[in-house]
Amino acid sequence: MAFIELTVLNNASRQTAIGIDLGTTNSLGAMWVDGRPIVLHPEGENGYVPSALHFAEDGRILVGRAARDRALIDPQHTLFSIKRFMGRGLADVARDIESVPCPVSESPTGVIQFEMRGKAYTPQELSALILMKVHDMACRALGGKETTRVVITVPAYFDDAQRNATRDAARLAGLDVLRIVNEPTAASLAYGLDQRKQGNVAVFDLGGGTFDVSILSIEEGVFRVLSTHGDTHLGGDDIDRALVAVALEDLARTLPAPALRDPAFRQLLRLAAEKCKIELSSAPEAEMHVTLPESGMQWRRRFSREEFDALAAPLVERTIDACRQALADAKLERNAIDEVVLVGGATRIPLVRKRVEQFFARKPHTELNPDEVVALGAAVQAHVLAGGTRDILLMDVTPLSLGMETMGGAVAKVILRNSTIPCSASEGFTTYADNQTGIDFHVVQGERELARDCRTLGRFKLSGIPPMPAGMARVAVKFHIDANGVLTVSAKEESTGLSARIEVAPMNGLTDAQVESMLKASYEHARADFDQSRLANLKVEIGTMLRATERGLRNYRAELDKETLRDLEDAMKSAREAAERDDVNALQKARDVFERAAEPLAAVMMDSVAKQALTGKRLDEV
């Protein structure tokens, strides 16, 4: 019986995996159910988890909607847009740091740490909390059916460090990542365009904070990414900022400078701008209004669609530039594009739709909710990865070239951008001194000519080369970018066939050991939480047992022999004492001893109840 259940369960979990869009603003889970992808949301909720965290005074961390709601009251202890910090160092995010309300530092391996209420948190740990919330929401929607297998999406432009950080976040959340998928690529799957025999698709993804465009070809169910291009700092938030700037300029006449800088007020303005922007997507004009702090005065400003378009136009043109670049990389003309898919909330802006339609001379797909397209596509990919179908196949590319620093600081490209993944490349190295046993090298990602202008992926130390004259060693270093877009490096000395050892110092990343120790800490934390609740339950239980026993003793003391009575009273005393302290094991033991000592009394009571029943007395008279 147990075996059969287990088999059924295994089959169910083998077939399922959840697609998760871990977004800058919102995160969302979806799954393939009954032949199509659906957003997973529990009854009465929409499934969106705002990517926000609030650090409460009592040490609890609120995630999602609850955290976002706290932002208005307590912005100093609320964090947003954690995704921007994934796999980044302090130097990379100078602009984003400005909006972080708490002290921020960098660990020795270049991982950002947020200090909240005396504790430091990495973006990986915080993203793990968001992932857990999404996973929890998804499992509730599935009626408690558990699957820890997930596919997580990342912007196409995420580099190796950012992908690794995402993977580590999932590991910390206890999830089994089947694949890291690029967001625009996932989006192309959501529309079921694989039904098309042949064609080219442009996916235009303008989110809150990032922009990507990808060009794909579809042929017999195979989605092949031809090129991808984007801007990691371009999105709907920039348009909010433009509106806020207009407001601030106006308000500077009435409000003193410190009031304008107040974070809570800034947050109010940001929300008012966002609301105004959203209204303008469906109305020809909208009002942005805020209540000023202290004075309680209302500030109002009407924006017409034309004014708004003028503010948004420079940003929209940047997205069109990226489309040109992506087409050039794909070696396609504009008119070769058969389908255009819009992704991301900011594609609701009429100006964006208009320009995209003009540029590609195609009406873009807007049938699906642009905030859900990525999660839905991730669910399709999760279905493929879980073994659900072989009809659909995604062949993605690496968005950035991989190279090595050479003498003089130049970059020798090893794998070119837009190469289909998985891909491998080998480079030969030799020694320049007699009996040299090690070589250091520096791996970078990016398109620039000089290593210092590219992003450092890691510094590798090759050691264990057998001693031989200079130039004799033939070390082949193999780079492999896997289907997740993540790099692994291995090396071999070819003349001897010996494997050389490679040590990788991750840049802006966690080492495996760090992830392990975080996992251990979270288990210990979970263990402590578990003990805490067990302690509370045991105390309640002992209290109930004590009260029942005291009542029983009042009526049946005379029916117990002296020894039994003494044992019982000793056990009660021990239980009372144990309940005063917080030792779970001692409490459990005292409870068990108490239960055994109370058995004779329980038997007497049961016996008496039975007799009373036989003599016709009602139970409540016992």
């Binding site: 083998r14 297998r149 089947l178 694949r179 042929e219 017999e220 195979v222 092949r224 530039d321 040109r324 670049q325 050039a328 990919q381 493929v384 990865l385 879980a386 073994g387 072989r390 196949l393 995604l394 062949m395 190469s419 289909t420 993944i421 998985p422 891909c423 491998s424 490349a425 080998s426 492999h480 896997d482 289907a483």
Partner: protein, 212 residues
């Protein structure tokens, strides 16, 4: 042609069996024969559409997406096989890299060996570079930019001729004529100069269309 060790079916690619789906020992690596991975004989003539169909068909057999929940060794094998296929496709799909590989395969001179280009050709290269510099420094509607468009067309035509010559060399080599590979290598080196200049012109044009 080989047969599958598991089901004895004839193999189209040494990477996997299309009949039983078995992943076969990785024969990838940078030194592997890209033609063999696609079940083809090494030869210059290639049907691009057929090559792409093979890529899609074989990728369906070995892509890691279809082994995501398989054992670690299988996942690893799928990664290597898929990477080998992608690298081989890159070599074969691009005329220049296909020619480079074939010249090496047939025992011809490597890139370094036939490095010296005719003086007249190098003078031409200098002219192209000057035209590029002039276009970079000029306004979008300037005549220098028109000149660069004409140059692109001219170089494109030259490139076509160079590859016609390479094709003829390979055909002669296949017919048993000796001494074809060194001139093929010289042609290929000329093609590299042309490609480099054409890439720069394309980059300049994208930059121009971005600025207008």
């Amino acid at each position: 042609m080989n047969v599958c060790p598991r089901c004895q079916a004839t193999l189209e690619t040494p990477l996997a069996c299309g009949a039983c789906g078995a992943l076969l020992a990785a024969v990838g690596g940078p030194h592997a024969d890209p033609f063999a991975l696609f079940g083809l004989e090494p030869a210059w003539a290639l049907d691009a559409a057929d090559l792409k169909r093979r890529l899609l068909r074989f990728t369906r057999l070995v892509h890691p997406d279809f082994f995501a929940t398989a054992s670690e060794p299988e996942r690893h094998a799928a990664e290597s096989a898929s990477a080998a296929l992608n690298s081989a496709y890159q070599v074969l799909d691009d005329e220049a890299s296909r020619a480079d590989w074939l010249i090496g395969h047939f025992g011809g001179p490597d890139e370094q060996a036939e490095r010296s280009m005719p003086r007249s050709f190098l003078m031409e290269v200098l002219d192209w570079n000057e035209a590029l510099e002039a276009a970079r420094a000029s306004a979008p509607s300037a005549p220098e930019r028109q000149a660069i468009a004409r140059l692109a067309a001219e170089l494109g035509e030259r490139r076509r001729q160079v590859f016609e010559s390479i094709a003829a060399r390979f055909a002669a080599h296949a017919a048993g004529e000796r001494g074809q590979l060194a001139p093929a290598r010289q042609d290929l080196n000329a093609a590299r100069y042309l490609d480099k200049t054409l890439a720069e012109i394309a980059g300049l044009r994208v930059a121009q269309s971005l600025s207008t």
